[in-house]
Amino acid sequence: MKARVHVMLKNGVLDPQGEAVRHALGALGFDGVDGVRQGKVIELDLSETSRDKAKVSVTDMCEKLLANTVIESYRVEIL
């Protein structure tokens, strides 16, 4: 079973890298990009076969390592 974790900065946390990307897009002539937020996608191959157990386990991984919950939020997808 595969799981995909999306990690994003929480709303209200300034994202300097996203801002740099936004400026670069403007420099390339892409007008009308009001904001860019950059995050991470982490894909996991799991031996677990129960979707419910996988979701619990991956959520625990997010809390303990994959996301820093001081500044980041996460979303777990079981594929």
């Binding site: 946390v13 300034l14 300097p16 890298q17 740099a20 303990k64 390592l65 994959l66 820093n68 001081v70 500044i71």
Partner: protein, 222 residues
């Protein structure tokens, strides 16, 4: 004073930190990250600067979950002294021993220069040899030194005398110009500037020496 310096793959200030401890009179042991326990009777643990584990995932994140870090957390919880410098500060935030976190510099660029700081408290062994409000200089060299904490936390840190140093010219966008913070018991210090790179005249300044000397005076009398 017995000091241990943790060495991760990618640490690059470990030997500088060992020299600074030794100059203050410490017996220094280097401790490999895969070790599961610390040498006996350590008084202080130093977590050095560098790029542990290549800054993969987040700065300090992988190092903070390495086997030795459980022992470092236990040492701190027993009231032991810990100092984390630069990447070491990032590691301490990731372990939860210090609050807040360090994000990418607001100006995106790596910042490498000597910078002016103000001493914000003289509580605890690390800071007792400075004067309140003293202006000092130390080098900074980091890409992710932007201290991030919400307003409530910063107010609490200020109220409890836990802000150790503030930047006089903020180089990285840190909240409230914070350059270093202390634990509640003032025995865990994390800071982005490098005191170990300011302990002898050849470094261009010696303002970091008081930090190690302060620690030594407390631990030698213990």
């Amino acid at each position: 004073m017995r000091a241990g310096v943790i060495v991760f793959p990618g640490s690059n200030c470990d030997r500088d930190l060992a020299v600074a401890f030794a100059q203050a009179g410490a017996d220094v042991s280097m401790v490999w990250h895969k070790d599961v326990s610390l040498p006996d009777n350590l008084d202080v643990i130093g977590i050095p600067g560098g790029f542990s584990f290549g800054d993969y995932l987040r700065c300090g994140a992988i190092a903070a979950r390495s086997p030795i870090c459980s022992a470092v957390v236990e040492h701190a919880k027993r009231g032991g002294y810990v100092i984390g410098i630069c990447n070491g500060f990032q590691v301490l935030c990731e372990t939860g021993l210090l609050p807040g976190t360090l994000m990418r510099n607001s100006g995106i660029k790596f910042v490498c220069k000597t910078i002016r700081l103000r001493v914000e408290t003289t509580q605890g062994a690390f800071l007792q040899n400075y004067k309140m409000g003293q202006e000092i200089q130390m080098p900074v060299a980091h890409h992710d030194g932007n201290y991030t904490a919400d307003d409530d936390l910063i107010a609490r840190l200020d109220g409890d005398g836990r802000v150790a140093f503030r930047y006089l010219e903020n180089p990285n966008g840190s909240a409230s110009d914070i350059a270093g913070v202390l634990s509640a018991n003032k025995r865990v210090l994390g800071l982005m500037p490098h005191p170990e790179r300011a302990v002898e005249a050849a470094h261009g300044g010696t303002d970091g020496a008081a930090l190690f000397a302060g620690l030594a005076s407390v631990l030698e009398n213990a």
